[in-house]
């Protein structure tokens, strides 16, 4: 896979990017196994509330006596999960839409892009807020019906709708690239040989788009992560006792008072989130330089 090799080579050549990739991978690993390793349960209340960091609690505790390290790592899991799945949704929709639009060309393309323009100008996150709040009960009912009742309905809503907010940029870029690739010799040849459209799209076009897909992937993930944290901060994301970085930061921000500085409540989740976002953005920039020369630094 050509893209993969290019990526690896870039990483090796630029140590900063390697560091960022390393940070992202370690955060993912910590999120996956961390909550089980700390020895505390993320929802377990205790009597030691609002303790500053110590040997027993590396990140301190919150108001209900819950260990902040466990909750931060659990929050990482939530945030990363929503970001990953949401990006997947965004990818699926965006790439398909963009490819089809570029491939079809002409009137169809023009209409499809007009739609994208309109959607682009709408305050999408605000619409998401409404959708998540109002569809919660029906989705809960539907999940119970399908015996998937243990999946938090909010999670499903967030993944789907946040994914649907971010697909527009991807669609535009993919469409642009498709228009270019469409004219290339090997595509023309395959078309002339009578290959079905589907095969053309998925066997020939798609692999050549993988570079640019990867770049915008690294940009979509942090975007969705921030969106999810945003919604959770406002109380419209995951609910107690579950945690996501957004809710933890909201708790930390809410605890700011003139008498006692509960700095750990804000610093650790906020710092971890910022670090992850920084690494992802840096990585995205770096990859974009290599894979998409048209992109702006």
């Amino acid at each position: 896979m050509k893209t993969f090799q290019i990526v690896l080579r870039t990483l090796v050549q630029k140590p900063w990017l390697m560091l960022c990739a390393g940070i992202v991978i370690s955060v993912v690993l910590l999120a996956l196994i961390g909550p089980h390793l700390t020895g505390y349960n993320y929802a377990a209340i205790s009597d030691t509330s609002l303790q500053s960091p110590s040997f027993a609690h590396w990140f301190g505790t919150d108001l209900n006596g819950r260990d902040l390290l466990t909750r931060t790592l659990y929050g990482a899991r939530m945030s990363l999960l929503v970001a990953a799945l949401g990006t997947f949704v965004s990818l699926t929709v965006g790439v398909s839409y963009g490819m089809i639009s570029g491939y079809m060309g002409g009137r169809v393309d023009s209409i499809m892009m007009r739609l994208v323009e309109i959607l682009y100008s709408l305050p999408s996150l605000i619409l998401v807020i409404i959708l998540v709040a109002t569809l919660e009960k029906p989705v809960t009912a539907a999940l119970q019906h399908l015996w998937l009742g243990s999946i938090p309905p909010r999670l499903v809503l967030l993944v789907v709708f946040l994914g649907l907010t971010e697909w527009l940029t991807m669609a535009r870029i993919i469409r642009g690239q498709t228009l270019v690739l469409k004219e290339q010799a090997f595509i023309q040849a395959s078309a002339a040989l009578g290959q079905a459209h589907g095969r053309l799209l998925f066997r020939h076009l798609l692999p050549n788009l993988s570079g640019i897909i990867l770049v915008y992937l690294t940009l979509t993930i942090p975007a969705i992560m921030i969106d999810e944290a945003f919604l959770s901060f406002l109380g419209l994301g995951v609910q107690p006792p579950q945690a996501s970085w957004g809710t933890l930061i909201a708790d930390g921000a809410g605890a700011i008072n003139p008498i006692q500085l509960y700095w750990w409540l804000l610093l650790f989740p906020g710092g971890m989130m910022t670090m992850t976002l920084l690494a992802l953005n840096f990585l995205g920039d770096g990859l974009r330089d290599t894979l998409d020369p048209r992109g702006k630094k």
């Binding site: 009597d47 108001l63 209900n64 609910q239 006792p241 809410g254 700011i256 008072n257 003139p258």
Partner: protein, 545 residues
């Protein structure tokens, strides 16, 4: 002048940059001028944090304490309270009570006026009380007027002719009230907002807009000058009020977040925090040492309401199980932290003549046994239920803790939390649209009845769906009985049924009031049982009335 290319470059760059910055700043100032003028607020002598945006200012339908404070700054009843909380003459300058305790004759002061200069008459009271009792108004507190002859009949719609109800205005300055039984606390009720008069011509003229400034006509110490939703309310001294108030302009902030309140207080943008919910519980220990910390005990209880009409809370065993599984010490120690006493009964201590029943104690094993017996061993199969609470700092933390406690002790994982803004919460609670509800009650007068008479069948403030004819009967009996000691025994029997036997509610803890204010800035705030601190009685220390 022949400048070198490099310096020319730099000069031009600086030139362009400063032009750019100047342009932006000019735009910014224009913005600020235009929009700032509309949004920057007016100055005030005293700024109070009231805890949330009020649901309404209509005294006839108010049930919440924060709305009550505002209403009692705007309106005044026959009597009012002074800074100490004692009952003093209000709109009525004097009164007589007949020897049998059934007839009260109030003399309205001759200079009583509304804030638009129109004189206030006894008939205003008659019409206002009619409005409160009228079923169309749907006042949850209408039962405060059931002590009047035929009050209950009119309030429940059985009687359509108000002239048969025991309140009459034979002349503009005399009000005669007749009660069905002697009621010791009736005079206290006349200072309560439900019995305050409202300006009916204004309501007729403006309809549902009558509460907006400048339409609101009031008879109390203040008028409503500004009401910006979720921003602030500005009260201005009523020129026609019969007394002089010390603070001419009071700004009321609806800040619901406790830490924000504290932040505003410490930066001087707020002078008085009255509500304990507006003080962050986790900081109470540290705040206790500060000179601006004031403790004021009063009669109030926090409790959980069950909706006994919905599964699974229609089963007494489930109600008992959840009640016995709450480690109330944990809540007062960790969450509320102001030294609240744990409550196993509803009526708070403070009345020396009343001896409460024992009340159920924390017993997790028994709780687990009962839950299993009810069909949910280990919490398995427990249906999805929601606990409603008002989205203010302390109730939210208590709710989260309760959820965690029930999970820990009973294994129930299907309780979700539903936090709502105060006024929405009040509405939802009043419609009994919940499974569980975190509630609280502050006494309206110093007698156990103010806590117990809520829970009669279909009582306006019952809100659990619970009904027990024995309980209702005991209340009626207690109102007719002349001997106070006997009456207290009946009330104790009632409370036993309420908290020990049927358990439609679970008491959690008794309130300990905390207020924050600087002694150099505010005086006239003194502890009293009903936590009633009239803003008209506040004064800056140098201007003692």
């Amino acid at each position: 002048m022949n400048a070198s290319p490099a310096s020319r470059r730099r000069i031009s760059a600086a030139y362009i940059l400063s032009a750019w910055l100047a342009g932006i700043l000019a735009l910014a100032l224009a913005f600020f001028y235009f929009f700032g003028g509309w949004t920057l607020s007016e100055p005030a002598d005293l700024t109070i944090c009231n805890g949330d945006e009020p649901q309404t200012l209509d005294p006839a339908i108010i049930t919440g304490q924060l709305e009550g404070r505002l209403a009692l700054a705007l309106f005044e009843g026959l009597t009012t309270r002074n800074a100490k909380g004692d009952l003093v003459p209000g709109m009525a300058e004097s009164w007589e009570i007949s020897p049998d305790g059934l007839t009260y004759t109030f003399h309205i002061r001759p200079d009583a006026k509304w804030s638009n200069g129109v004189p206030l008459t006894a008939d205003d009271f008659v019409q206002s009380w009619e409005r409160t009792l009228n079923p169309v108004t749907a006042s949850q507190y209408a039962y405060q007027l059931y002590y009047l002859v035929n009050g209950e009949a009119y309030g429940t719609g059985k009687l359509k002719d108000f002239s048969q109800v025991g309140v009459k205005a034979p002349d503009p300055h005399t009000l005669i009230v007749t009660l069905t039984h002697p009621t010791a606390f009736f005079l206290e009720l006349t200072s309560f907002q439900t019995l305050c008069p409202v300006y009916l011509p204004g309501i007729a003229k403006y309809g549902s807009n009558w509460m907006k400034p400048p339409n609101l006509v009031s008879n109390g110490p203040y008028c409503l000058k500004v009401w910006r939703l979720n921003d602030y309310i500005l009260l201005e001294a009523n020129p026609y009020y019969w007394r002089k108030v010390a603070f001419q302009r009071i700004k009321v902030l609806p800040t619901s977040n406790a830490t924000t309140c504290l932040n505003l207080f410490s930066s001087g943008k707020l002078d008085l925090i009255l509500d304990k919910n507006s003080v962050p519980a986790s900081l109470v220990d540290k705040l206790r040492e500060k000179p601006y910390f004031h403790a004021n005990p009063f009669g109030g209880t926090a409790f959980v309401r069950y909706n006994v009409k919905r599964k699974p809370f229609d089963d007494l065993r489930v109600r008992k199980a959840l009640a016995l599984a709450i480690d109330k010490e944990d809540i007062v120690r960790k969450i509320t932290r102001a030294g609240e006493p744990v409550a196993d009964t509803l009526v708070p201590p403070g009345n020396k003549d009343y001896i409460p029943p024992e009340g159920p104690k924390y017993n997790p094993e028994e709780a687990r046994r009962l839950l299993a017996e009810a069909g949910y061993p280990g919490g398995r199969g427990f249906p999805n239920v929601q606990m409603l609470y008002a989205k203010r700092s302390t109730p939210e933390q208590v709710a989260i803790e309760l959820q965690a406690l029930w999970q820990r002790e009973l294994g129930i994982t299907s309780i979700t939390l539903r936090g709502q803004e105060w006024k929405v919460y009040l509405n939802t609670q009043s419609l009994i649209d919940f499974d569980l509800c975190l509630s609280a009650w502050v006494g309206d007068y110093n007698d156990p009845q103010t806590f117990l008479d809520m829970f009669v069948t279909d009582g306006g403030n019952n809100l659990t769906g619970w009904s027990n004819p024995t309980y209702d009967h005991l209340l009626d009996q207690s109102q007719a009985i002349p001997d106070p000691a006997q009456r207290m025994k009946l009330l104790q029997e009632m409370e036993t049924i309420l908290v020990d036997q049927d358990m439609p509610i679970v008491p959690l803890y008794y309130y300990v009031g905390i207020s924050l204010y600087r002694n150099e800035k505010v005086a006239g705030f003194e502890p009293n049982f009903v936590d009633d601190h009239r803003w008209g009685a506040l004064y800056p220390p140098e201007k003692k009335p």
